[in-house]
Symmetry: C2
Subunit: 337 residues, 2 copies
């Protein structure tokens, strides 16, 4: 109660209850080897003294921190906050705390974050970055603590990951756009160096074109950043090129394109169709509402965290790479037959 109160320790409880520290420890940790009457006695003292076990001391002694690390690219992004929500819910279900870190600009940032987390003795790490450098990738593979990718992909399938089948998602979307009569379809993504964009999404895009006998042209692929302004710029770049539809890999970027198109008097979806990728609330806010691939963000986070608990517990896991089903939510930016 009093600000100057010394913290109550296990020793205080042991003394007051007239038992040893070991017994108090057993009670606190739910060990069954304690007589019910002793147990009660100890519990009473704990309540009376408001004893709160020191997690740091416990961590040092037991070599478990019941804390996991979360590395994400950008705290301001809705996409990641939704993933994080799934992670958080499962984590608290299993009594884990989350140390949150986000990638800062600058070389070696991920390296630094990773090391910081290890220094804090986290029991596991969830990585949500879109890209990963080779150095840190290797470290993760050999790491003492398990690592799971959420909403990201390990091309080499060494690290456990949870995501959706990006190739198929894009292929399906582009096929849909082709079936709607479009022949010149744009692919608008972020950094093509990230596997998810440059490899999977691009591949799905190319497959769909090929299946339809449309020749691929890199002119129709736009690489940019995820912002409204970038979207407007992309629109400027493509609106005279005869492109009639676009698949966009980020909702904010898509909203930028959509608004630029609408603001310039284009009829959507009659003259221009657009599909985005994250199905965040932005899809419902935009007018027309945006058609989107619906990644089960919350579930990806939740499953990734569940997977991590298994790994931390040395349990068997069936598949290193889990692909969750996605859906396709048709709204106002596409002609839906």
């Amino acid at each position: 109660m009093d600000k100057s109160d010394k913290e109550i320790t296990i020793t205080d409880v042991a003394k007051q209850a007239g038992v040893s520290m070991a017994t108090v420890s057993r009670v606190v940790n739910g060990n069954n080897n304690v007589k019910e009457t002793t147990r009660q006695k100890v519990m009473d003292v704990i309540d009376k003294l408001h004893y709160r076990p020191n997690a740091v001391a416990r961590g040092l002694a037991s070599k478990k921190s019941t804390t996991i690390g979360l590395i994400l690219p950008n705290m301001g992004d809705l996409l990641y906050s939704n993933l994080a929500k799934g992670i958080d819910d499962v984590a608290s279900m299993y009594k884990y705390n989350i140390i949150l870190t986000s990638l800062k600009n600058g070389i070696g940032s991920e390296q630094q974050l990773f090391n910081d987390l290890l220094a804090k003795q986290v029991d596991g790490i969830i990585y949500m970055g879109e890209t990963i450098s080779n150095d840190i990738y290797k470290e993760m593979c050999n790491s003492r603590v398990p690592v799971v990718f959420a909403g990201a992909i390990d091309e080499q399938q060494q690290i456990s990951s949870v995501n959706i089948d990006y190739v198929k998602a894009v292929r399906d979307v582009v096929k849909f756009l082709i079936d709607n009569g479009n022949r010149k379809i744009a692919l608008v993504t972020g950094d093509l160096n990230s596997p998810i964009n440059g490899k999977y999404r691009l591949e799905g895009y190319q497959q769909a074109l090929e299946n339809a006998g449309i020749s691929y042209s890199s002119d129709n692929v736009f690489e940019t950043v995820y912002s409204l302004q970038a979207g407007a710029a992309v629109w400027d770049a493509m609106h005279d090129s005869g492109i009639t539809a676009a698949f966009v890999s980020n909702d904010l970027l898509a909203a930028g394109i959509l608004n630029a198109a609408v603001d310039s008097g284009i009829q959507v979806p009659e003259e221009f169709e657009l599909v985005t990728s994250s199905n965040t609330i932005l899809c419902d806010v935009a007018r027309p509402k945006m058609t989107s691939v619906a990644q089960p963000l919350y579930d990806i986070g939740a499953v990734a965290m569940r997977m991590l608990t298994k790994l931390m517990n040395d349990e068997e896991i069936n598949d290193k790479t889990i692909s969750l089903p996605y859906s396709f939510v048709k709204r106002g930016t596409t002609k839906n037959n």
Copy 2:
């Protein structure tokens, strides 16, 4: 490198370098009382062995965890992720890690989170909840570790906090709407039990009306939750009542109202004006773009974190309650003269 490698400890480094643990500790902690040549020698061994100090052990010995706790209402909310970004940036500047927790539904949740954080020996806590129960409030006041409210207010000014002057903000906005010719103006907020809504915002609203000689009617105050659907429902409830303008305390809610109005053929801002409160990206995505009070979210977070570092450091702080300047960004949902 090898998965089975034992962790390198300070003892290993000390032995290899032929010095004592204390010296290694000094080197690691940048203590100057070390001869340069010894320092080099130790550093070399640290590099060679890839020694990484164990933060948990350090925490136990030094009684500092260089970790702070963050309690926020909802991880999926853009508002909070922006605040969190400011916190994160300053935190990493001062080498603090963040343990992130979010309020779950159910009684006693905040109590539980608070205790968990204390158990983990965090050096400080930032609280971003809109409301707070009396029990936990008292505990925070008497807490061994400093607590700062970010984007929240302590009515009793006992706990340090960073925010904007909500009363004035709303008063100014409502005055603006009155000056635009509106007489029947709605106040649309979340839970009126939270001081920020029920006390400050309501007060600002009433002051503005009073100043203009307009009588207050609770019929024009709408209490609801923060979602698009809720916004649509509010629109339904108010569109026949002669209300011609609204101040809304959440962007998502505002977007819901705006879209419902526009979708039903209302001309905005000619027939209906709307001002929202958080100036998140939603304001730019919506059509027309939404006029908003611009809380400096990032800054609130950053200043709160900076304040916390001072408190953790027992430095003097000038003001317990910091009100940051806000601005008023006029966009398309108001008639701007």
